[in-house]
Amino acid sequence: MGPLIPQGIITGEWDFVIALLMGIFFGFILEASGFSSSRNITGVFYGYNFVVLRVFFTAVVVTMIGLLYFNYMGWINLDMLYILPTYLTPMIVGATVMGLGFVIGGFCPGTSYTGVAIGKLDAIVFTAGLFLGIFIFSESYPLIEGFYNSDAMGRITIGEFFGVSNEVVTFGFVLLALAAFWGTWLIEKRVRKTVTEYKFD
């Protein structure tokens, strides 16, 4: 039966109501988890707070298992899901630039909106930066259009790339997540003893 909107079970008028609702839940979870604070977020890079990794990996694993379960029960048609297309080199370059922006800016777009919501001036400036960055990209698009569209691999899944099933990929992520939770818990305990300049805001 799912996904509901692509199958026409829920009609287009509900689109934006659903968008707003999903966004409210998303923003609530991000803020309640502590992502409206840049120093909480960047803790993941310095070892004093791995909350980003915990939330992120748990969410990925829950969604993956859920999708497989829904597919098994016949509740969702996985073929109708939007699989983000892969443009290998542009995505590697884009993600590298984003990683740099992450460490320097301390937010990512979604988390910066929640920072704006509770009155963080640094989040407001970060969001303005996003606007400027996307504007610079848009204006330089004619120069980089070739690169932007290069290395297209289509809607390839992780399983298709490695020649394994979605189930194996999910199992791999579960193992990876458990190992990461355990390893970062040990690191965090040690680092928190030495980091003195950090106070939760």
């Binding site: 692509p6 966004g23 890079f45 999708l67 109708m80 443009y87 990512c108 009155g119 960055g133 932007y148």
Partner: protein, 178 residues
């Protein structure tokens, strides 16, 4: 850090694994209803396209990039991502009010740097993130989280290289944070 002081000052954040389960269930519900995941940078793109279109309509019509997002029917702001991002703001606001974190304008920064340094860094970081999100076909929400969770290879690539770069360069920017 003194653990007693730390626990007294601890803000009331929810357990990260609980937050992760909630986020995972929300993402699953979003896929079940819409067939796509969550995102965040798309709304700013819509805002950029709308602004430039208002200021210089001929420029956007002639551009192969802007024209992709322009239709005669409605504004680029009339999109799923814009409404969803408005929701992110509202959801953050509700959580901030509930947990007592909604306060007057302030800048959070390491005691080693000034507010001004922090704001400059935030601006530069935002510019880089905005630019990168276009090449990456999405940010941490749209590509790294939603992409990977829907088994996209590109999503995994964005996740690995975003966090990988973060760890590689973190040392050079440590004064901003610790």
């Amino acid at each position: 850090m003194n653990t007693e002081i730390q626990s007294k000052n601890m803000p009331r954040y929810i357990n990260p694994y609980f937050g992760g389960v909630l986020l995972g269930l929300l993402l699953l519900a979003t896929f079940f209803i819409t067939g796509r995941g969550l995102g965040a940078s798309g709304a700013v793109k819509s805002a950029v396209v709308t602004t430039v279109d208002r200021v210089a309509h001929e420029h956007t019509e002639g551009s192969t990039f802007y024209s992709k997002f322009l239709t005669d029917n409605h504004s680029p702001m009339y999109s799923w991502m814009v409404f969803e991002s408005l929701g992110i703001f509202l959801g953050g606001l509700i959580s901030g009010i509930l947990f007592g974190r909604l306060k007057k304008l302030r800048t959070e920064h390491s005691p080693k740097i000034t507010s001004k340094t922090r704001l400059i860094a935030a601006g530069i970081g935002g510019i880089l993130f905005g630019f990168g999100s276009q090449l990456g076909r999405g940010c941490s929400s749209g590509a790294a989280l939603s992409g990977t969770a829907a088994f996209s290879f590109g999503g995994l690539i964005v996740m690995l290289f975003m966090f990988g770069t973060g760890y590689l360069v973190a040392y050079f920017f440590r004064k901003l944070w610790i």
